[in-house]
Amino acid sequence: MQVQLSHPARTVEVKGPKKVKDLLRELNLVVEAHLVIKGDDLVTEDEMLYEGDQIEIRPVISGG
């Protein structure tokens, strides 16, 4: 599946099926600092993601 990341903007290919929490762990990303969006919908950490899904992992931290 295609996973879109930010800071810097890039797309990576990750093999599915995979739970959201496992995807974040594989990419070494902290749950508390990110949202996972499938298509247009927010998904929880126990949601299963499949090949062909369009995923965005959006960082939530802002401010200097």
Binding site: V30, E32, L42, D46, G63
Partner: protein, 312 residues
């Protein structure tokens, strides 16, 4: 994962509350947290006029959205800092929200453009007057938000500072034992002297992740990109550390910041002390009349310096 309240499919889990919510129940949770913050800290009432400081980011736009939906009289001010494409994008997001959402509630947007007054954008200005960019930005934003709040007779100024912002700031102050800053870390600061607007932070009970989720779920189009000037800042480092702790031990951030607020309340039962301190040291700037500890305030000094070095 199902919604703790209505048992339908959840869209977000909140480990610090040992809960998960669907979109409808999550919006209810967010609105309830903001309503509790406003009431418990005596921030403002339904008849008062509020000026929201908006940047185009998730927190300030979510705050404007929530206040309007809760029935408050909230206008907003956007300060265009002149940081190239970043400012252009953030300005466009704010304008879009103002026209599509705020205008339907009868709310209006004020605009201040740094380049028009200073003759240069924030980055160039900071270089020309030999000051750090973030400090220059902070001085300008604080000054302009206060100026508009006072001139346009708003009762209170609201900012989008969230739980993560306040916990990170507290961590920084504690790590460096900057005890003199702790008194002003509460979510509601009184208008201690004439010329200062009351300042409140209605989002202090909500985390950055919760506010980003609120923006996504309610289709609030905000600027996701980080401010290019903030890269590598200490605040971002503190937030990362706190988020690692939060993931391992949910509730860490709220225990840290809310625990601090409880201790401060026990130490200072009223805002009198802070007001008295301010009244003892602040007086009107001889140039603009805004309160300052010096003869001329830091903003007026900065603008005077800019006039001598910025090419006209």
């Amino acid at each position: 994962m199902n919604c703790t309240k209505c048992k339908t499919k959840a869209v977000i889990g909140l480990p610090r509350h040992n809960a998960a919510f669907c979109k409808g129940c999550f919006n209810g949770f967010v609105h309830d947290q903001v309503a509790r913050a406003i009431k418990s800290e005596w921030m403002f009432g339904k008849e008062e006029r509020i000026l929201v400081a908006v940047s185009g980011g998730k927190d300030s736009l979510a705050l404007w959205d929530i206040l309007l939906k809760l029935g408050y009289r909230a206008d907003a001010l956007y300060v265009n800092l002149g940081i190239g494409a970043y400012s252009e994008q953030s300005h466009a997001k704010v304008t879009k929200f103002a026209e599509a959402v705020a205008a339907t509630h009868g709310a209006k947007l004020h605009l201040h453009t740094v380049e028009q007054e200073a003759g240069a954008g924030i980055k160039e200005l900071a270089m020309l007057i030999h000051r750090p960019t973030c400090s220059t930005c902070g001085t300008i934003k604080r000054y302009q938000f206060n100026r508009v709040a006072i001139e346009q007779e708003y009762d209170v100024m609201a900012t989008g500072h969230n739980l993560d912002d306040e916990a990170a700031r507290l961590l920084g102050n504690v790590l460096h034992w900057q005890e003199e800053y702790l008194d002003k870390q509460g979510p509601s600061l009184p208008a201690s002297v004439a010329g200062f607007a009351k300042k409140v932070k209605p989002l202090y009970r909500l985390s950055e992740r919760e506010l980003a989720a609120y923006a996504v779920l309610n289709r609030i189009d905000y600027i996701v990109e980080e401010c290019p000037m903030a890269k590598g800042s200490k605040t971002l480092q503190y937030k990362e550390v706190l988020n690692r702790l939060e993931t391992e031990s949910p509730g860490t951030k709220q225990t840290f910041y809310w625990g601090f607020l409880d201790k401060q309340k026990k130490k200072q039962p009223t805002a009198t002390t802070m007001t008295e301190k301010d009244r003892a040291v602040l007086h009107p700037c001889t140039s603009c009349s805004q309160p300052t500890t010096a003869e001329v305030c830091s903003y007026c000094k900065m603008m005077a310096r800019a006039k001598t070095v910025v090419p006209q």
